[in-house]
């Protein structure tokens, strides 16, 4: 960071101050995980990278360490000039300072290595220098309370608490408690980890420190930190992804409109994009990274319209509340008695998928507030459209679930995925799931957890190509743990009394025993399109009805049409 950035940083700090908030900024050297497009990265010792994406480590000399401390101090100076009120030092998840602190990555024999005191020397020196400059401006630090690196000889939790005490002694004013590294083999913040799972680490930190303790890590709803603060286990509630999903979250909590918070679904798309240096996006928040762009604003409609939305799933509901907020008269129909569309079934899959339903609760609250009229238990027919003759029809009817064309797909033991998820279908002990995208994986895991022997067969070349890489490794692990066999790039050639025959892309034929075949394949849904067009009514098709994809695409489609219609 060089001085030319000070005016920009000042604009940032000023904007935060204008909203009566405290402006903090973080100092970070990415260390071991800092090199992707470079030849090398820097670190204490040349420990090979576990993740192939990162470059080999070049060992830092003592002169490099001194230089790095100097650069942190210079950066602090710029932050203070720009008007920031809080400086945070990053020492977590595999970044430089954590590399020095951890016995996994620090194998030095000089005074910056050895026991935990030696490994902390860099941090202690750096904190002291930054604090000297900051004076009354508080300095925080993020350090791991549990690195979750016991498989590769990382710090023990006891050593981590020593690092906390040493940082406090060196002068930090706030401790941000974290868990895990990018190289940990355990999941930490994905949806499969229940909210609040890491609060015990904050509690442990409190027992070792006098300074305030803050924490994020799956504290997605205010009740969790609120309770922990009340019980003296935490002092400050941090949150990251919840505010990517809904930047107004804290304001809504303060105003008591929590039901209008768009909940993060802990999918880690944002992280996956960050790691690949791709532009920021959020799975669930269509406005993320477009907040500056007037095209994404919800502006009053130039002409108020009477709109029928067919389908009260995630796409239809999102479109409904946005269009209604703009002043349109919006009627949303669904043949089911319940809101949510196929998310009702999708949220029954294990490993945290129940949280997907949060998007439905959010958009329902927004739609009710915006005055959307609900017509549940009402199937939209061509006659209904001709009778109502709205200005606009939005088809958000969800996908059509399709069976394959091979012999045997018409047998009674071939059942649709939705019937399996909502418990209507009878499923045998040996099951083949047809479809290797997320819906197939979800239903396969549900059945495998019931003790069934499950095989996933799908046409896609790679399993779960619709799941981002920062989450997919979890599903691959769960499939393995639950002994689910997978055949990608394959067709079902035939279904018989005993099971199925797979034909792989290169022509091998494999018999699989199966009592039940569950179909998860989907295609676009053209229903009602003709009648709308024949009557000259403005038509939009969104979500899986347009192209079967996922919750994200449904919400993004819904928002995009909601602000346009």
């Amino acid at each position: 960071m060089i001085d030319k950035f000070i005016p920009g940083l000042k604009r940032l700090a000023d904007a935060i101050h204008e909203q009566k908030a405290i402006a903090g900024c973080q100092l970070m050297h990415c260390g071991r995980v800092g090199g992707i497009e470079t030849e090398y990265c820097q670190g204490p010792s040349p420990v090979p990278q576990r993740l192939r994406i990162f470059r080999p480590v070049e060992v830092m000399t003592k002169a490099d360490i001194k230089q790095c401390i100097k650069e942190h101090v210079e950066a602090t100076e710029r932050l203070l000039k720009a008007g920031f009120d809080y400086v945070e030092i990053s020492g977590i998840v595999g970044y430089l300072l954590s590399n020095f602190v951890s016995s996994y990555t620090n194998r030095r024999t000089d005074e910056y290595g050895g026991d935990i005191q030696g490994r902390m020397r860099f941090v202690v020196e750096l904190v002291a220098e930054v604090k000297k400059l900051c004076g009354d401006v508080p300095v925080g630090i993020r350090l791991c309370a549990d690195e979750l690196l016991d498989d590769v000889g990382g710090n023990t939790p006891e050593e981590s608490m020593i690092t906390y005490e040493m940082a406090e002694e060196a002068g930090v004013d706030v401790m941000s408690v974290t868990a895990g590294w990018q190289e940990s083999i355990y999941p930490v913040i994905s949806r499969d980890i229940p909210m609040g799972s890491w609060l015990h680490l904050a509690e442990r930190a409190k027992q070792h420190l006098k300074i305030p303790v803050s924490m994020a890590y799956r504290l997605f709803t205010p009740d969790l930190p609120n309770k922990a603060i009340g019980e003296g286990k935490l002092d400050i509630w941090e949150m990251c992804r919840p505010m990517i999903a809904d930047p107004l979250m804290p304001k809504k909590v303060l105003e008591g409109t929590e039901d209008e918070i768009r909940p993060c679904v802990a999918c880690n798309v944002c992280l996956a994009r960050l790691f690949r240096d791709a532009p920021m996006t959020c799975y669930i928040n269509p406005v993320c990274a477009h907040e500056w762009d007037p095209k994404y604003e919800i502006k009053p409609a130039e002409m108020e319209k009477n709109i029928i939305i067919v389908g009260a799933g995630p796409a239809g509901l999102e479109c409904a509340w946005v269009a209604a907020e703009r002043g349109h008269e919006v009627h949303i129909y669904d043949k089911r008695e319940e809101l949510g569309g196929t998310i009702i079934e999708a949220s029954k899959a294990p490993y945290g998928d129940d949280e997907l339903y949060g998007q439905i609760s959010f958009s329902k609250a927004k739609a009710e507030k915006a005055g959307v009229e609900f017509h549940l238990g009402t199937e939209v027919t061509p006659e209904l459209i001709e009778e109502e003759m709205p200005d606009t029809v939005v088809l958000a009817t969800g996908p059509k679930y399709v069976k394959g064309t091979a012999p045997g797909f018409d047998r009674a033991n071939v059942v649709p995925m939705l019937d399996v998820l909502n418990g209507k279908a009878e499923v045998g002990e040996n099951v083949v799931v047809w479809g290797n995208l997320k819906p197939g994986i979800g239903v396969a895991l549900l059945l495998a957890k019931q003790g069934k022997k499950v095989t996933v067969v799908g046409k896609e070349r790679k399993l779960g190509k619709d799941i981002n890489p920062s989450f997919k490794w979890r599903y691959v692990g769960y499939l393995k743990d639950n002994r689910v066999a997978t055949y990608n790039d394959s067709e079902i050639e035939e279904i018989t009394d005993d099971g199925i025959t797979i034909r792989t892309y290169d022509g091998y034929r494999i018999p699989i025993k199966a009592d039940t075949v569950v179909c998860t394949e989907r295609e676009a849904n053209p229903d009602l399109k003709d009648v709308v067009q024949e009557n000259g009514i403005e038509l939009f098709v969104i979500g899986d009805a347009l192209v079967p994809r996922n919750l994200s695409s449904a919400v993004h489609d819904g928002y995009r049409i909601g602000i346009r219609v």
Partner: protein, 173 residues
Amino acid sequence: MAVDPQKELTKLHGALGVSQAVIKSTFFEWRQTALELLGPSSDTLDVVLKFWEVAGVDVAKNFFPMLNLRKGQEGLILDLARALAGTGIANGAVVRVEKGEGPLEALIRWERCPWPTFAKRYGASMKEDLLGCDKFLQTIVAEANAFLGTDLKIETQKAIPSGDGVCLRRLYK
């Protein structure tokens, strides 16, 4: 049409054999290309050993997610021995892993290995074949040591290219 499992397995087994053979041919074709481009002053053994070092570093990375210090040194040695054996099996060798005499050692026994046959076919010496294989395995062990901070060693006690009938390697601390 019902599947004939025997026919499918025969086809698959044939394809596996061909792809295993292609891997070895490709190595020797690459070796010949490198030597021709480097010219007569190049040292064949240097080139070959460098190849096996590069391969060892890359293959070792595949093992990092499964090496686990929580299993203790004994478990780690057995897991790494199995991983090393797997590199041979994938190439069509018959390899077995046994516990060694002490708790902190494992024996890896190549009862059959196709590499020396290919080396002969392409005119490479048995010495080169043996040293190449040693380099590959030593590099993997060195990378695992660098990754985990351990101090494991591997030594070759018998070798098919030396006429011993088996390759026997001891992985130990």
